[in-house]
Subunit: 227 residues, 2 copies
DNA sequence: AGACAGATGTTGGTTTTCCAACAAGAAGAG
DNA sequence: CTCTTCTTGTTGGAAAACCAACATCTGTCT
């Protein structure tokens, strides 16, 4: 399924930018990458990288391509739980937990390249005693920020109608930007996926909302109108 | 809004059980509770405990009653983002973040009693240097477990139909229990809230699923039928 | 400029959910 | 036991979302 691969310039960049390694010297990072418990792997499109049920002891940084958590229900129907794009970190919620068994398959959704690091071995490595605290703290920061994003996502998804989903999401984005006028990072299809609605129905709802004088928009720039 | 109050027997129990304090001696806990940066407060039903926009430097344990995060959108309509029941911990995702401004109001949804601890002052307290690492690690554990619960919740909510929401949730519960037969902790109204659907419509869908021979249930005990 | 691809917007018929009201069943108190 | 209350289940009309198909817009390439 997977072959050991070499790092490209762009891959190194991704590693430096990963929040897990914030505040860590590039020379130290370079040393970590060379350790035997750190591996670079290429994963072919549509293959299982880690199987549901197995213990996960590695943290995984997606260098290129796309991984996904894939659930299979009791009728053997599969669906995607979460997508990890290039640059995103996955696995720390398993590695650190008392129960580190994967609940879903981890699959390559495209031809992908990943960096995997055995967290236990990294922490135990005498060469990196000094940075263990930094990494552990980075992880806490990461999860805290992530928790707030997930919490907000749940709130947006829990709205009963498409209009309310959009308003909940856009209100939060407006608050983040500190202005009634703001830019969103999703295109229409991505926004529809995020809110778990049909793209075309969502477009239609946006039109109606504009007609109802709730907001104006052009591409990814929105303005909410005050009452 | 809030009066300083005394701790009851039941409150102390809640504090001992809080995952934040796992592995910490009861004598140490008793000392923490007496510190001036630790406060017990009674909050009247339907009052704002912490206002959106303010910085939150306390972690809050709900001793009795119920707190809620309340969002107000740009049209000044309010709705509940998340509920914190008795025994649940709130605030660490703000306290630890680089930006610790509250994005929502924190309100008492019932007459409630809370324990609030200033995390920065606790960590800085010379009396508790030895347990700082334990608490920090407990927090990481807590957030990691929470992240998986939130992730699963998002997956359940993102299903397009009531039937699929139910199947996603029930399949996960079945996997957790390690059996096709299992017990769920929600009653029908709570399950409907969790999945963001109408209770009555959900009941009807459960009936249809039973008729379609997908599962059987009686009260909170479910059995999924294999294909 | 013209051709093309990809993103965004529009529409109408079908399916699903909501909603409100009521029925049936279970649990507890007097 | 009956009465009460709470939870769960059922139903039909109204509202919303889905879906597929098509129209329009925008940016890019040659």
């Amino acid at each position: 399924m997977a072959n050991v691969a070499r790092l490209q310039e762009a891959d190194i960049e991704k590693i430096y930018l990963c929040p897990l390694f914030k505040g860590i010297e590039t020379s130290t990072l370079a040393a970590i990458i060379k350790k035997p418990y750190t591996k670079v792997t290429e994963c072919e499109d549509d293959t299982v990288v880690y199987k549901a049920g197995q213990k996960l002891s590695q943290m995984v940084l997606v260098l290129s391509g796309e991984l996904g958590l894939v659930n299979t229900n009791f009728r053997r129907e599969s669906s995607i739980v979460e997508v990890f794009d290039s640059g995103e970190l996955f696995g720390s919620e398993y590695v650190l937990a008392t129960d580190n068994h994967l609940t879903y398959d981890v699959c390559a959704l495209e031809d992908s390249k990943i960096l995997s690091i055995d967290y236990g071995k990294l922490l135990a490595d005498a060469d990196f005693v000094k940075i263990a605290g930094v990494i552990s703290n980075n992880l806490l920061q990461f999860h805290v920020a992530h928790a707030r994003a997930l919490q907000a996502h749940i709130y947006h998804l829990a709205q009963p109608t498409t209009r309310e989903k959009l308003l909940a999401y856009l209100t939060d984005e407006s608050k983040k930007a500190g202005s009634n006028t703001f830019h969103i990072r999703y295109d229409r299809q991505e926004l529809a996926d995020y809110l778990a609605v049909e793209r075309s129905a969502m477009c239609a709802e946006l039109s109606r909302m504009q007609k109802d004088n709730l907001l104006t928009y052009r591409k990814n720039d929105f303005t909410l109108k005050k009452k």
